[in-house]
C-alpha cells in the first residue's frame, strides 16, 4: 500500500538510479540515520555502547570491507584478522609518533597503510584462485600476527607486548582512553561506518564495482571485454583492506583500548567476519550490517535472556549460545544461502504487493 513505486515519478536518470527508488524506503533510511545520529547518542549508556553498538559498527565496517573482496570481486580471503591487526598497529604507531595530530587522521592513515599491505598480499591473487587464494591469505593472517608478536618496534618495546591506546580527543572531546563518554565513542564509529558504507555503495554500483563483479562472475570473459584483472583485483584488495584496516584501528582505539595481537586478531576473527558476510549476504552492503548485527547482538541477547533474566548458570548460557549461533549458521547456509540480505529483498517484494497479491 505505502511501499510501492506508483506515484513516485522519476524525471531524470539520476533519480532513476538512486539507491532507494521507493519513497517509503528512502524515508525509512533517513529515519534510521536521524535515529542513529540524533536520538541514540542520548539514550546510550556504557553498557549498550561498549557491548553492542560500538562492536556492531566496527564489525560492520570490517564486513563491508571483506564483502567488497569476497562478495563483489570473488576473491576469497581469510586474512581479515591479520589486516585488522595492521590497522590497529598502524594506528598505534602513528598516534604515539605524532600525538598532536587528530586521531581521525591516524585512523584514516591506518586504513591507507593496511591498503598497501593488502595490495602486497593481494598480488598472488593474479595467479591463484579460489581455495588456493584462501590459503595464501591465511598465510598473511599468520605471518602478520607473528610479525607483530615478534618485532618489539611495533609495540614500542613495552614489557608485555601489549599495545594500549592513550587518550585522544576530537574537537576537545575524548574519544579514546578510559574517560570516553558513551556517545562520543559511538558517534566516531557511526560517522566512519556511515561514510564508509556510503562510499562502498557508490563504488560498487559505479564502473569500479562493475569491473569487480565482472571478474567475480567470470574472469576470462571479463578480460576479453576489456577489464584489466591486475587493476580490478588489486583495487579490490586495496579498498577492502582500507576498510578492514579502519575497522582494526577503531577496534583497538575506541573499542578495546588495549590489544594483544594473537588474542584479538587471531584466525577466529577472520572467520567471524567471514561468517558475518555469509549470514548477512555476499555482495550486499545491507547484508554486511545485518550479518554484523546478527553476530554481535545474538550472543549478548542470549546471555541477557538465559543468564541475567532466567538465572541459568553462566557456563550453560555460554554453551547454549555457542550451539544456537552454530545451528543458526547452518540453518542459514541450507535454507537461505544468500543470507539475510536475500530475506530482506524477498520481504520488500512481498511488501510491494501487499495487501493485494496476485
Amino acid at each position: 500500500m505505502f511501499y510501492r513505486e506508483a506515484g513516485d515519478f522519476k524525471t531524470s536518470y539520476r533519480d532513476d538510479g538512486q539507491t532507494f527508488p521507493i519513497r517509503f524506503d528512502r524515508y525509512r533510511y533517513y529515519a534510521v540515520l536521524v535515529f542513529g545520529f540524533v536520538v541514540l547518542p542520548f539514550l546510550l549508556n556504557d553498557y549498550w555502547t561498549n557491548a553492542v553498538f560500538v562492536p556492531f559498527l566496527i564489525y560492520a565496517i570490517a564486513a563491508i570491507g571483506l564483502n567488497i573482496l569476497v562478495g563483489y570481486c570473488g576473491q576469497l580471503s581469510l586474512g581479515t584478522g591479520g589486516f585488522m591487526a595492521v590497522g590497529a598497529y598502524a594506528c598505534y604507531k602513528l598516534t604515539t609518533a605524532f600525538p598532536d595530530v587528530n586521531i581521525v587522521f591516524h585512523i584514516l592513515g591506518a586504513g591507507i597503510v593496511t591498503a598497501l599491505v593488502g595490495m602486497l598480499f593481494g598480488l598472488p591473487s593474479l595467479r591463484i584462485k579460489g581455495f588456493y587464494l584462501a590459503v595464501a591469505t591465511l598465510a598473511a593472517q599468520f605471518f602478520l600476527v607473528w610479525l607483530f608478536n615478534r618485532v618489539p618496534w611495533f609495540y614500542n618495546y613495552s614489557a608485555s607486548g601489549q599495545i594500549s591506546m592513550p587518550e585522544r580527543t576530537v574537537l576537545g572531546i575524548p574519544v579514546t582512553g578510559a574517560s570516553v563518554a558513551p556517545w562520543a565513542g559511538y558517534l566516531v564509529c557511526l560517522v566512519f561506518a556511515v561514510a564508509l558504507a556510503w562510499m562502498a555503495r557508490n563504488l560498487t554500483r559505479g564502473s569500479v564495482g562493475r569491473r569487480w563483479m565482472a571478474i567475480r562472475d567470470m574472469d576470462i570473459a571479463a578480460e576479453i571485454i576489456g577489464v584489466n584483472p591486475l587493476k580490478a583485483k588489486l583495487t579490490a584488495f586495496a579498498v577492502s583492506s582500507f576498510y578492514v584496516g579502519i575497522a582494526g584501528a577503531l577496534f583497538f582505539s575506541v573499542y578495546l583500548g588495549a590489544v594483544e595481537v594473537g588474542e584479538a586478531f587471531g584466525i577466529q576473527k577472520s572467520f567471524a567476519v567471514l561468517f558475518m558476510i555469509i549470514i548477512g549476504g555476499l555482495g550486499s552492503i545491507f547484508g554486511s550490517f545485518a550479518g554484523a548485527a546478527f553476530m554481535v547482538v545474538l550472543p549478548v541477547m542470549i546471555k541477557l535472556v538465559l543468564v541475567d533474566t532466567l538465572g541459568w548458570p553462566t557456563d550453560l548460557g555460554a554453551h547454549i549460545q555457542l550451539m544456537v549461533v552454530g545451528a543458526l549458521i547452518i540453518v542459514f547456509l541450507i535454507a537461505e544461502p544468500h543470507g539475510m540480505a536475500q530475506l530482506w529483498r524477498l520481504t520488500k517484494e512481498k511488501l510491494r504487493l501487499w495487501p493485494f497479491p496476485h
Binding site: 534510521v32 549508556n45 556504557d46 553498557y47 549498550w48 561498549n50 557491548a51 553492542v52 562492536p55 608478536n149 614489557a159 608485555s160 607486548g161 601489549q162 594500549s164 592513550p166 587518550e167 582512553g177 578510559a178 574517560s179 573499542y255 578495546l256 583500548g257 588495549a258 590489544v259 594483544e260 594473537g262 588474542e263 584479538a264 550490517f289 545485518a290 548485527a293 546478527f294 547482538v297 545474538l298 549478548v300 541477547m301 546471555k303 541477557l304 535472556v305 543468564v307 541475567d308 533474566t309 548458570p313 553462566t314 557456563d315 548460557g317 555460554a318 554453551h319 555457542l322 539475510m340 530475506l343 530482506w344
Partner: protein
C-alpha cells in the same frame, strides 16, 4: 532485520536491566568455557563457595549478605569488556578477572569508574606501584617476583652461583608470558647465567618444535610461564624427551593437578611456585563441608575441592572478604562503596593470626598493603609433584623476591605508564 534485532535486544535489556543495589556485590568474571575452562572452573567455584560460606555461617560480612554476580568471559577480552560493563552498574565492589589480557583492558576503565581491581599473581606487574595505580592491586606477589623467586631458588640449589648455567624461559606468547622476560634479563646479567627465550603460541597443543629447541640447546633449567592446555602438553613433552623434571619449574599458573596428571608418572618431580595453600588439610574445609558442600550449595560440579586452583580461588575470596571487613571498620558502616572498599584494601594487613582465624593458617604469605605498595610482600613457595601419591608437596619455606632488582623495574614501568596517561603519582608520605 537490523532494527528488529535491536528492538529485541533493547526489550531483553529492559527485562534484565534493573540493578539491585542492596548487599555487597562481588562480580566474578569467570571462565567456565573455552580453552582455559579447566583452569577457570576451580577458581570460580572456590570464589563462589567461600562467599556462600560467609553468607551461611556468618550472615555475610559485617551483617551484610554478599551477592556474587558471575559473568562468563571465556578468557576472551571482548566478552570481558561486556561483562565489566554489564556488572559495574550493579554496585560492584571489586573485580578479579583472572586474565592478564582482560586486566590490561580494565586498568583504565576501573581507574575512570573508581572501582578497585585485585589481580593476585597476575596482570600488570607495575600495578604494585600504588602511587600510580591507585585502583589496582596485585598482592601478594607478581610475575617479576615469581621470576626472581625462581632464580633465587635455583641459586640455593647451586651453591649460590649460576655462572655459566643455561636457563630457558618457555612462555605463553602473550602479555602474560612476556612479563618475566625483562626481569630475567636483568637477573641473567647479575648472576651470569645465559637466558634463552622460547615462545609458545596460544593455545599450545603443539610444542614439538619448542622441545626440539630445548633438546638442541640443552638448558640446565627450564622456567615455564604457561596457562591452559599448554601446561599439560609441555609437561608431557618434557617427559617425552626425558628432560629432568626437577629442573623444570613452572610459575604458579603452571602448577595444578590438571597440568601434571595427564603425563602420569612422567610428571613426577615437576616443580612449580605457589602463593596459596596446598591440599585440603585446612580447618576451613571443615566449615565448607558443613555449611556449603553438605548443604548442597557448592558451586559448579563440586569436584574441585582441595585442588591448587580451588585453593587459590579461596585465597582470592578470603583476601576480598578481609578487605571488605577492613573497609567496614574504616568507614564505620556495613554497606560500603567501591571507594571505601579500595581504602580497605589499601589498609589490609594479612597476618598469621588473621589467616588462622579464617581457618586458613599459613595459607599464604603474611603481608601488609600500603598506599605506595600495592604488591604485597612478593613471597612464594616451591612445591613439587609426587606422581605416585598424586599430590603436591611444598618443599621450601616462603622465598622472598629480590626487590633490589624488581623495584627499579616497577618504578620505571609505572613512571612510563604515568607519563603515557598523564597521571601525576599520588603523594604517599
Amino acid at each position: 532485520m537490523k532494527k528488529t534485532l535491536t528492538t529485541l535486544t533493547l526489550a531483553a535489556g529492559l527485562l534484565a536491566g534493573v540493578p539491585a543495589m542492596a548487599d555487597l556485590v562481588m562480580p566474578s568474571l569467570s571462565y567456565r568455557t573455552g580453552p582455559y575452562a579447566a583452569n577457570g572452573i576451580p577458581f570460580a567455584d572456590a570464589y563462589a563457595d567461600y562467599f556462600t560460606l560467609l553468607n551461611e555461617r556468618d550472615g555475610g560480612i559485617g551483617g551484610e549478605k554478599i551477592k556474587l554476580v558471575e559473568c562468563e568471559t571465556g578468557y576472551n577480552t571482548e566478552k570481558g569488556v561486556e561483562c565489566y560493563e554489564s556488572t559495574k552498574g550493579t554496585g560492584a565492589l571489586l573485580y578479579q578477572p583472572l586474565s592478564t589480557g582482560i586486566t590490561y583492558q580494565l586498568i583504565p576503565k576501573v581507574t575512570a569508574d573508581g572501582i578497585p581491581m585485585l589481580t593476585s599473581g597476575l596482570g600488570r606487574t607495575s600495578a604494585a606501584d600504588g602511587k600510580v595505580f591507585k585502583w589496582v592491586f596485585n598482592f601478594p606477589a607478581n610475575y617479576w617476583d615469581g621470576a626472581s623467586i625462581m632464580v633465587k631458588y635455583l641459586l640455593s640449589e647451586n651453591n649460590d652461583s649460576l655462572k655459566g648455567k643455561k636457563i630457558a624461559l618457555l612462555y605463553h606468547n602473550s602479555a602474560y608470558g612476556k612479563e618475566p622476560i625483562r626481569t630475567l634479563q636483568d637477573l641473567s646479567k647479575k648472576y651470569g647465567f645465559k637466558l634463552s627465550l622460547i615462545p609458545i603460541d596460544a593455545p599450545g597443543q603443539e610444542q614439538k618444535s619448542q622441545w626440539l629447541q630445548v633438546r638442541r640447546e640443552r638448558p640446565d633449567y627450564v622456567l615455564f610461564w604457561g596457562w591452559g592446555v599448554m601446561n599439560p602438553v609441555a609437561i608431557q613433552e618434557a617427559a617425552n624427551i626425558r628432560f629432568p623434571m626437577d629442573h623444570f619449574i613452572g610459575i604458579w599458573w603452571s602448577g595444578s593437578e590438571n597440568d601434571v596428571k595427564p603425563a602420569g608418572a612422567g610428571a613426577n618431580g615437576y616443580k612449580a611456585l605457589t602463593f596459596s595453600g596446598v591440599g585440603d588439610g585446612f580447618p576451613i574445609y571443615g566449615d565448607l563441608k558443613k555449611y556449603v558442600y553438605d548443604a548442597g550449595k557448592a558451586a559448579g560440579a563440586g569436584d574441585q575441592h582441595g585442588t591448587i586452583l580451588y585453593n587459590r580461588g579461596l585465597y582470592a575470596a578470603m583476601l576480598t572478604a578481609e578487605a571488605a571487613k577492613k573497609a567496614q571498620e574504616l568507614s564505620g558502616h556495613a554497606r560500603i562503596t567501591p571507594a571505601e572498599m579500595r581504602d580497605g584494601m589499601e589498609a589490609l594487613n594479612v597476618t598469621e593470626d588473621l589467616m588462622a582465624k579464617d581457618g586458613m593458617p599459613k595459607f599464604g604469605p603474611a603481608f601488609q598493603v600500603t598506599c605506595a605498595n600495592h604488591g604485597g610482600s612478593g613471597q612464594a613457595q616451591v612445591m613439587q609433584w609426587d606422581a605416585k601419591a598424586a599430590k603436591w608437596n611444598v618443599i621450601t619455606d616462603w622465598i622472598q623476591s629480590d626487590s633490589s632488582v624488581i623495584q627499579p623495574l616497577i618504578d620505571a614501568d609505572a613512571a612510563a605508564f604515568a607519563k603515557e596517561n598523564n597521571i601525576t603519582p599520588r603523594d604517599c608520605k
